[in-house]
Amino acid sequence: MTDLASRPAQAPEAGARRRRAIGAQRLSDATILLLLIGMIAAFSVLTPAGTFLSLSNFESVLLTASQLLILSCGTTFLLIAGGLDLSIGAVTVFSAVVVAKVMGALAGTAAQAADFQYPNLAVAVAAAVGGGLAVGLGWGVLNGVLAVRTRIPPFIATLATGGIVLGLASVWTDGQNVQNVPLPFQTGFGLGKLFGVVPWPIVIAAVVTAVSWVLLAKTRFGLHTYAMGANLEAARRAGIDVGRHMVLLYAGMGALCGLVAIIDVGRFGTASITSHSGDGLAAIAAVVIGGTSLFGGRGRISGTIVGALIPAVLQSGFVIMDVQPFWQNVAVGVVLLVAVYVDQVKIRAQTRA
């Protein structure tokens, strides 16, 4: 029997191709981290000592990034599996309305709230948190079922559900911020810190990120997510219930929106209709900047962390340098272009095979 490895005709060529592909992967992972480090270094030099480069600013940047990071974790899974969710901003707003309304209604009467008295606070918070998560999850399931059953491209399907969800939230609230969120929820949770050190939103974002990382990298669920985005038909033939898996991913995304909504209500004591309008694209941008392929099958949470931090770092740096935030959009756009270009190079290296 011939040893196939000894055939010289093709092995070197294939090897070179493989090295190119792997090289591109490592390049993008490393370049994006280097870029972030470069930004931090530049801002540290360009801003007065103790302003940008300080522990408290580090905390502020993480706090600003925490919500985008949570949404980006869910988006990483979706993009890897070949899905997409543009409705996450709207679902977050809707969930926030539910959280604020439920909490305000159950905590006590309007008269009691006017005097900042909340006799049923514990019940109200529990119900509101549960309700926010459940409603987010529910919209996620709807998105998933639409994506799986109707075959409407998710770009369109979630764009539509996003409009519907935001519309319903606006109709429900007359477009106004929801009032009477119990103050202790804001002071205890939204402004509160774990052990008096780490703000709760950062703690939650860290837990979500860690769980996402493990789920994606270590488990069967994660592997199947990659397989679906790489070749949906292959995943189906391998016996993976791709429909169920996809619905689960969208449902998880929705639940994460609910989580962000809870943080939002905690921080600002209100549910604001006009917030989160750019979250869907911002999350996709962060995830793609982090090296996840728009074409599915490839991506990592580590990259997503970097991608989600970049806008917050730019914002903090630019404000402290007193540069207008429009430059932040310019910078994120440029980084996004570079990231997608590298992604394309990778795909080309692969399909040459």
Binding site: T64, G163, T173, G175, Q176, Q179, L191, S272, G278, D322
Partner: protein, 328 residues
């Protein structure tokens, strides 16, 4: 990017809810004046969500009901000149007896408005006017510049005339933002003890605005005051200042008086609110148009002033009546 998703979402919203923000009152049969019976006034709004505009509608609606005029209002799905022009044309096509609108762009809206006026439909602008007075019959302005000036005076009083202050706005180029900024700057000139250290624009997202305010506090740790140009920056600035533990040091002067802003004032997290009187503007606009329709009385330009609400005067009914309407 935000803009795109906002526009797209709004388009879908518009398609989904068919015409989005609109409403009408048809009380023409009630006791009103004979010559005004069956007359129609249409109002073109910039935003169907903002309590400010909703209060404006309420004032106009109440006045129309009193006069027996049929009143309807609409808001475009997106805040751009093209969609406002389109909406204006479609409203004009229904031949109302008068139109009340707030111009999105002081220059770009001149031509489409003149076109409508040429069709014999009078236009009165409220809140935001155009640069050419011949493009409308009259303007009922809430003097944004005076409001900004009032904010500076109020800030100066709060800080005993001395300190570092920041401005947080929606986005440059929007007439109301620019007017308030101009008034704020003019007011600061008269209060030489106040040093402006930052001028930021951050759209509508609470998280983003809070991040910016936090960074402003990093840049200027000894900041004394923030003028938050509208509702969301007021909320976000209060949160960021509180999170930074600087509620004592940094006084916040907000603009507008939505219920959650009033709640912040009550809790002392915001020191003062500059309140416009959108209800009065709406009522005046309808009354002016009605008079013109009835006997051709050409209305005069009117400026509606603003009031300052602080913790000490907020329970005074004369102040509290200007708090914007919030639905629960």
């Amino acid at each position: 990017m935000k803009r795109i998703i906002h526009t797209l979402a709004a388009c879908v919203l518009a398609a989904g809810l068919a015409g989005c923000g609109s409403g009408s009152t048809q009380d023409a049969a009630s006791s009103g004046s004979g010559t005004l019976r069956g007359k129609k006034i249409a109002m073109l709004l910039n935003d169907q969500f903002d309590p400010y505009y909703l209060t404006l509608v309420e004032g106009a609606q109440a006045e129309a009901k009193k006069l027996g005029i049929e009143f309807s209002w609409q808001a475009p799905a997106t805040l751009d000149v093209a969609s406002q022009t389109q909406l204006l044309q479609s409203i004009a096509a229904r031949k109302p007896d008068g139109i009340i609108m707030s111009a999105l762009d002081a220059k770009a809206m001149i031509a489409p408005m003149k076109q409508v006026m040429a069709q014999g439909i009078p236009i009165v602008t409220v809140d935001a006017d155009v640069a050419d007075p011949s493009a409308r019959l009259a303007t009922i302005a809430s003097d944004g510049e005076a409001g900004g000036r009032l904010a500076a005076t109020t800030m100066s009083e709060l800080l005993d005339g001395k300190g570092k202050v920041a401005f947080i706005g929606y986005t440059p180029g929007v007439a109301s933002t620019d007017a308030r900024l101009a008034g704020w700057k003019a007011g600061l000139k008269e209060a030489p003890g106040l040093t402006p250290v930052a001028e930021r624009y951050d759209g509508a997202d609470l998280t983003t605005i809070a991040g910016t305010v936090t960074a402003v506090l990093k840049r200027t740790p000894d900041l004394n005051g923030i003028f938050a140009n509208w509702g969301n920056p007021t909320l976000a600035a209060a949160q960021a200042v509180q999170a930074a533990g600087k509620s004592e040091q940094v006084k916040i002067v907000g603009f507008d008086a939505s219920p959650d802003q009033v709640s912040l004032l009550k809790r002392g997290l915001v020191s003062a609110l500059i309140i416009q009187k959108p209800g009065e503007m709406g009522a005046t606009a309808v009354a002016d148009l009605a008079a013109y329709i009835k006997d051709g009385t050409k209305p005069k330009d009117t400026t509606v002033d603003a009031v300052v609400a602080t913790q000490s005067n907020m329970d005074d009914p004369e102040v509290a009546k200007y708090f914007y309407k919030g639905k629960q």
